[in-house]
């Protein structure tokens, strides 16, 4: 996204489009602990941002701040030209995977429908436009075959696709995903990440995804935001995921190894490793 396109009208995903999200010099402290500071991030339409970092680095807190549920200690976040606030209609949210209870009184299509009008008072009265919107979204997320199954009976991957559908059906400009691939097998990881990747190509949408493992989304990510040691590092994959950059961030030698199109980070300090669960096929050296 470095092409000189300033003389063209605002084209999807090109640099001059106004940013969907602008984080300026943001910091978050809990007591004496600084989660992150000097966090700067501009997210433009069509951009895919991966948020990486050890557990406890404040990745989820950043999403909560963007959702307007977590006040900053300093700095500001601007969303679509205004301040962040709770319940912004143009933000979709896919929280950390939590399997639905088997007794949940909803079918797959009703679950997706909550994303459309679940916030409104009153009864969910049936209507043709509502039904069509849900049918269309079910087709998009490849869930038509289990549309009327109860949500608690579905597999983790199927439920996760429904969560993405629930977030997308409100047609958000910004999609926030918190570890959407966790506890999914490789095939399902591919299905969910492809779905999220495809969603940003329509509707001038941007994606911010927290992930502990960059590899499933390596070929999709435009920007990496690496949170660790109270700092925030932003750039492309090639800029951030390097031995030099991460060694500087952690203040200790860290090796970033690229092999067969995958990235392995080796030598993270113990404090960072704590709870830094890598995907099963990619355990950090210290855990082997």
């Amino acid at each position: 996204m470095t092409a000189a396109t300033s003389d063209r009208p605002q084209t999807r995903g090109t640099a001059p489009a106004p940013p969907i999200l602008s984080v300026r010099d943001a910091s978050l402290r809990f007591g004496s602990r600084t989660l992150w500071s000097h966090l700067n991030l501009k997210v433009r339409p069509g951009e895919f941002v991966a948020v990486l970092g050890p557990n406890g680095a404040g990745k989820t807190s950043l999403l909560r701040a963007i959702l307007g549920a977590q006040p900053l200690t300093g700095g500001s976040i601007e969303l679509l030209g205004g301040p962040v606030r709770r319940g912004h209609r143009l933000v979709g949210y896919v929280p950390q995977q939590r399997l639905a209870d088997r007794g949940t009184p909803l079918r797959a299509r009703d679950f997706v429908g909550l994303g459309l009008d679940g916030h409104r008072f009153g009864l969910p009265l049936p209507s043709r436009t509502r039904r069509q919107a849900i049918d269309q979204m079910l087709a998009t997320i490849n869930a038509t075959s289990f549309a009327t199954r109860r949500i608690g009976d579905l597999s983790g991957g199927e439920q996760q696709r429904l969560r993405v559908g629930q977030a997308l059906i409100g047609n958000p400009r910004l999609l926030l995903c918190d570890e959407p691939l966790i506890s999914l097998d490789l095939h399902q990881q591919r299905a969910v990440s492809t779905l999220i990747d495809a969603s940003r190509r329509t509707g001038d949408r941007a994606v911010i995804m927290i992930t502990h493992d960059i590899n499933p989304v390596l070929d999709m990510v435009d920007t990496v935001l690496y949170l660790a040691a109270g700092q925030a590092l932003t750039g492309t994959v090639d800029q951030v995921l390097t031995s030099a950059a991460l060694s500087e961030l952690y203040q200790t030698p860290v090796d970033v190894i690229r092999a067969r199109g995958r990235i392995l980070v080796v030598g993270l300090p113990d404090t960072a490793l704590e709870g830094h669960e890598a995907a099963p096929e990619n355990p950090p050296e210290g855990l082997r």
């Binding site: 549920a69 912004h88 679940g118 009153g122």
Partner: protein, 289 residues
């Protein structure tokens, strides 16, 4: 044996009896309607245990109301609303909630028993608060029950959709701007109200049979957001009205009839659901993957 049978079911002069308990049948039907609807959310929010605790405190309140002459209705309302709000305020997480409920429940029961033992009035009243009574629904009491159930049903219909959203996934609902804490408290108040009136009819020990069993049965056979509340209310009304009409003939309290009908409906739904919900083999493999 025939003695026992006539004790349980005797339908001599049934028509006249029916007229006498007209109020009770109306009360039962309306209570079933409200209870069946509330039950859907009791299940969705995983609150059956909380219902039991609220009913015990409602019993304590009713017993205190009897003892101090404040009135059973008023007492049970105070008791159940206090319990519902305490559970709602202190127990936002399931684990905390369970321990708070476990603390409240024996306290409520003990308090109620204390008040009942100090009460020197008719014994039938005492027993009725625990196991239910049908003859006691006079006109003013029926009116208060209708008003309370009306508030519960109307309130539920207003908050239905966002409350369901919050019950399914509070995080996403909050991100969409739903006030989850406020909605939870509204629901606890509605739950407290319907529990208080249920205690007066089916008794504190058996409130679960109209606030939980019908919804649990409905969930066995369907997951449709329309069919589940419809079936749940239907089951609750059938159990209540059927229980009252059967109890008329016998000389035992109403609650065993209501709970038995409720339980049989649940068993039937479980069996039917087990037959219907058997996913095809391929789906079962996918679900375990």
């Amino acid at each position: 044996m025939s003695d026992l049978w006539s004790e349980l079911f005797s339908f001599a002069n049934y028509g006249e009896l029916l007229m006498l308990v007209r109020n009770s049948i109306i009360a039962g039907a309306v209570l079933g309607l409200a209870g069946g609807l509330v039950g859907v959310f009791v299940m969705a929010r995983d609150l059956p245990f909380a219902v039991h605790a609220i009913s015990e405190l409602s019993f304590a309140g009713a017993a205190a109301g009897l003892l101090f002459g404040i009135g059973v209705v008023e007492g049970s309302l105070v008791g159940s609303l206090t319990a519902a709000l305490l559970i709602g305020l202190l127990g936002s997480r399931a684990r905390e909630r369970n321990s708070i409920i476990a603390v409240l429940m024996p306290f409520g029961l003990g308090l109620g028993i204390l008040c009942l033992s100090l009460y020197s009035g008719r014994v039938a009243n005492k027993f009725g608060l625990l196991t239910g009574q049908i003859v006691a629904v006079d006109n003013p009491r029926l009116l208060s029950l209708l008003i309370i159930c009306g508030i519960v049903i109307a309130g539920l219909l207003v908050v239905w959709r966002p409350l369901m959203f919050v019950s399914i996934d509070a995080q996403v609902a909050e991100a969409r701007g739903v006030r989850s804490v406020a909605l939870s408290m509204v629901f606890m108040i509605l739950l407290g109200l319907v529990t208080a009136v249920s205690v007066q009819i089916v008794g504190a020990l058996l409130v679960l049979s109209i606030l939980v069993t019908p919804a649990a049965a409905a969930l066995r056979v369907s997951a449709s957001p329309l069919l589940v509340p419809v079936l749940s209310t239907l089951f609750a009304v059938v159990a209540m009205v059927g229980g009252i009409m059967l109890a008329l003939g016998g000389s035992v309290p109403i609650s065993p009839y209501v709970t038995t009908i409720s339980f049989l409906i649940y068993l039937a739904c479980r069996a039917w659901g087990a037959l219907q919900n058997r996913p095809p083999k391929s789906a079962r493999v996918a679900a375990t993957a």
